[in-house]
Symmetry: C2
Subunit: 118 residues, 2 copies
């Protein structure tokens, strides 16, 4: 009886099942991968806006030196601060000051990446 | 003839194939997901060793304030620096100073997460 079944299986094409197995072997890549952290200096408001957009669009965390902006154009620096506040409330992302003392470096992360304080 | 094939398919159990289909529908989660960046203060060498281990084992980037270690135990601070150098050469990970001026904050990333300077 077994032989008959084997023959039947062959005739109706067990290959289908093999194909399915192969499909299962394919690796599924996650929609977003977080393999990059960008480090940059915001020398003007355009730099800052570009960065904020990157964080929202590409889900890339950015470590940004705001020192230049603070020194060279305090008005834009203030504006950037307001944009950051809006970013945090609107997206649930985070912006944390890493160091003051002239350098004024912050890290900004999209809501998908959590900053854990330990 | 088709009816016969259908009957044969039933008798040898097409259910198998259905099960395989279901398996295909399951979502495959990537081995590592990079949804966290840890922020911590290294108050002693144990803190530092724990952090370095987290980076290697869990692939989690860590932003670490080394200021305490530098002030309170310069010897351990020096030792930590050597361990960082070894970590970079051995794993290909990165360690970059974000700010000096007393705070001495660094970011350390596993080789899987690239720090991009812009």
């Amino acid at each position: 009886m077994k032989d008959v079944l084997d023959h039947i299986k062959k005739t109706i094409g067990l290959e289908e099942e093999d194909e399915v197995k192969e499909e299962q072997d394919t690796i599924i890549v996650p929609e977003h991968s977080f393999y990059e952290i960008i480090m940059m200096k915001a020398k003007n408001l355009d730099d800052f806006d570009y960065a904020l957009n990157q964080i929202i669009e590409e889900k890339t965390p950015i470590i940004m030196d705001m020192g230049y902006l603070e020194r060279d154009s305090p008005e834009d620096f203030k504006l950037a601060g307001e944009k950051l506040k809006a970013f945090r409330t609107k997206t649930g992302g985070e912006a944390i000051l890493l160091c003051k003392n002239g350098k004024n470096t912050i890290i900004i992360t999209p809501p998908e990446i959590k900053l854990i304080r330990k």
